[in-house]
Symmetry: C2
């Protein structure tokens, strides 16, 4: 008998990216494909000290089952971390710890989405969000973005038309767009949340990775100035991009009623996030090492972003267009077709692999109406020499 799988699996396809990632093992390939931080940036000594402190001070707690909501001392530290980032009114009991922010997305899906519900996401948006929400039966609506993030006028029209269960946004250095939503548009998003009584989900894994001035306050921080908006806002954070993805420590701040139900769903998803990892993260934050770690990664990634941007302009010229990123991990670029050059991201990606450089074409990041000319480059995972060599290979592939 062939196994009968759940109907929900029919809503997702095997990722085209997975196939691409298999090619990354080819010797000599320079990869701009991964959406992850550089392992060389990890503060291994700091994490070792934190882990040993956790096992010395309260080994029973660090190794035992813990509350589904999260390890108390970590929730306190994360509330403090959020306050330093401008969200001053978040108490420890207003957040739960999740197994990476991917799990926060999963819990929102499980808690909120009935099959057929509509959800608005940016076009383009994080690939795993699309698949995660579709597994719960969501019908995704794509809201257009430009260099300043989601176009709020268009978004409001879509909200009015579709009355979505919620709107999912990555306002700060979005994946893959790299875009930074302007302060003005942020305010508009919060106002339309209140006006249309629509739940907004702010995913913010990259907000700490700014290269110059700090970005505008998060929607969460800004919600204090838009009455009624805080009760319509979910905020997801993560240590993955700034400290270590391997810890799998993320968190979710949400209205109390939603948080309680998401906690119940988490109880039956994985009981709780690794207390060993949580106690380690708590000790790390308590030790006060995060500011120096952030300074370091910001400086390194800023230089790599500049190197990549300069090289792209110099070597690919008017065949590509992109907004120079002010933070995050990604350059989101578009093939213009100028000079009769290739203008399809998928074709370009295949040629690039043949030339020894990998990246992700843009189409999978759209839940509808993909822009076939787009592609995503990560500047975070390789050093400047390889960035220069990789961009040269891109120029050849073009």
């Amino acid at each position: 008998m062939p196994l009968q799988f759940a109907d929900r699996l029919n809503n997702v396809e095997t990722s085209a990216i997975r196939e691409l990632f298999k090619l990354l093992g080819k010797p000599g390939i320079i990869s701009f494909a991964g959406g992850f931080p550089d392992s060389a940036m990890f503060d291994v000594d700091g994490i070792r000290e934190a882990s040993n402190a956790a096992l010395s001070q309260d080994p029973g707690a660090a190794l035992q089952y813990g509350a589904t909501e999260g390890f108390g001392p970590l929730r306190e530290q994360l509330a403090h971390f959020m306050a330093q980032k401008g969200a001053k009114e978040v108490s420890a009991d207003q957040l739960i710890v999740t197994t990476g922010s991917q799990q926060a997305l999963d819990l929102i899906g499980k808690t909120m989405i009935s099959p057929g519900d509509k959800v608005i996401v940016e076009g383009p948006t994080f690939l795993a969000t699309i698949q995660c929400f579709r597994l719960y039966g969501a019908e995704l609506i794509s809201a257009p973005v430009d260099g300043h993030g989601v176009k709020t006028d268009e978004l409001e029209k879509l909200i009015a038309e579709h009355k979505p269960k919620f709107v999912y946004l990555i306002p700060t250095f979005g994946n893959p767009s790299g875009a930074l939503l302007s302060a003005e548009r942020r305010k508009k998003v919060l106002e339309m949340a209140v006006k249309h009584q629509t739940l907004i989900l702010e995913d913010d894994p990259y907000g700490d990775l700014y290269f110059g001035e700090a970005p505008p306050p998060s929607l969460l921080a800004m919600s204090a100035s838009v009455p009624g908006s805080r009760e319509l806002l979910v905020h997801c954070g993560s240590l993955s991009k700034v400290l270590s993805p391997g810890l799998r420590v993320g968190w979710m701040i949400a209205p109390a009623e939603l948080l309680a139900r998401a906690t119940m769903c988490k109880q039956f998803s994985d009981a709780h996030t690794s207390t060993f990892a949580q106690a380690t993260a708590a000790q790390y934050l308590l030790a006060g090492r995060m500011p120096a770690t952030l300074d370091k990664v910001r400086a390194v990634y800023a230089k790599r972003a500049q190197t990549m941007g300069d090289a792209l302009r110099r070597e690919l010229g008017d065949a590509v267009e992109f907004v120079q990123p002010q933070g995050g991990l990604f350059v989101w670029a578009r093939l213009t077709g100028a000079g009769g050059k290739v203008n399809d991201g998928n074709v370009f990606a295949k040629r690039a692999i043949d030339n020894g450089v990998a990246f992700v074409p843009g189409t999978p990041f759209f839940c509808a109406n993909p822009d076939h000319a787009t592609f995503r480059l990560s500047f975070a995972t390789v050093g400047e020499d390889k960035i220069l060599e990789g961009v040269s290979r891109l120029a050849k592939a073009l």
Copy 2:
């Protein structure tokens, strides 16, 4: 606007146990309620050494994103661990690492259950399994158990009648039943899987915790002798009960097609299990410390089980009946009402709290037709002095 949650939440109720657990903070309470190992048993030094080894040998791998399937060296170690337990034909690529075995249950639910699908579970069974599968819309059917585990004749009738998506069993020292499925019944389960082409899910977190002779082989180990059964078997294991729940390291062995789909579901659930915890677990197993750790916990829990059993027989006499556990963490008992004593587990639980001792009444462990006279006692989490004092309090409450 009140938030509109997903319809699936209507299928679960807030756990009655949660309310009870709130009372556990009362000073002086002796708790037989928790289903967790004793923190004092944790091999803290061994885990610290393992964690430091993981961070010394390959810190990049231990702290970076990892494959959704699991950390390679851990998968190898777990395959070896399974071989030592008699499942000799499990290769590393036939298992995936899960965030505790709770996540394996969640992934099976996500992968297999469409709303309205029938699933057979033991009556009684693990509470979080009931809730987990109901969140995916399963209709649960209860198969009766006795002191030797699920009654296979009744189970086969239920399979024939309901044609379930799968059958969920905890064959070895089940939670809450403590029962050990006999070798003869194990064989029957595998044969009926083949005969009715029904998927069997074997949850085995307690199999290593035997007190005397080793239990019969797991369904997985036994499947080698029942042609066709291996392709219809999912096996879930966990380090939580034997090493540390806080690591959140479990695993799932399943037919290839199912495992691939569960892996996809995991990708969008939490991307992967903490590589930091996985690398630590891998180093722990590699260091060869597990056999001594198992010897230690078996000896301690065996003594506690004997102490509790003897005290119950001595102090509660014919007012309760139970099978003396041969492993695991639990005594599953039944109030007989002899001598006009209380015969309702919920009433007894409330009186017990008033007398300073806590346990879980049996009714929540049934998905249908609860036996109100039952209750579950954990003997694992407190020492023998407290077990004796706690049982005295139970006698008073009775």
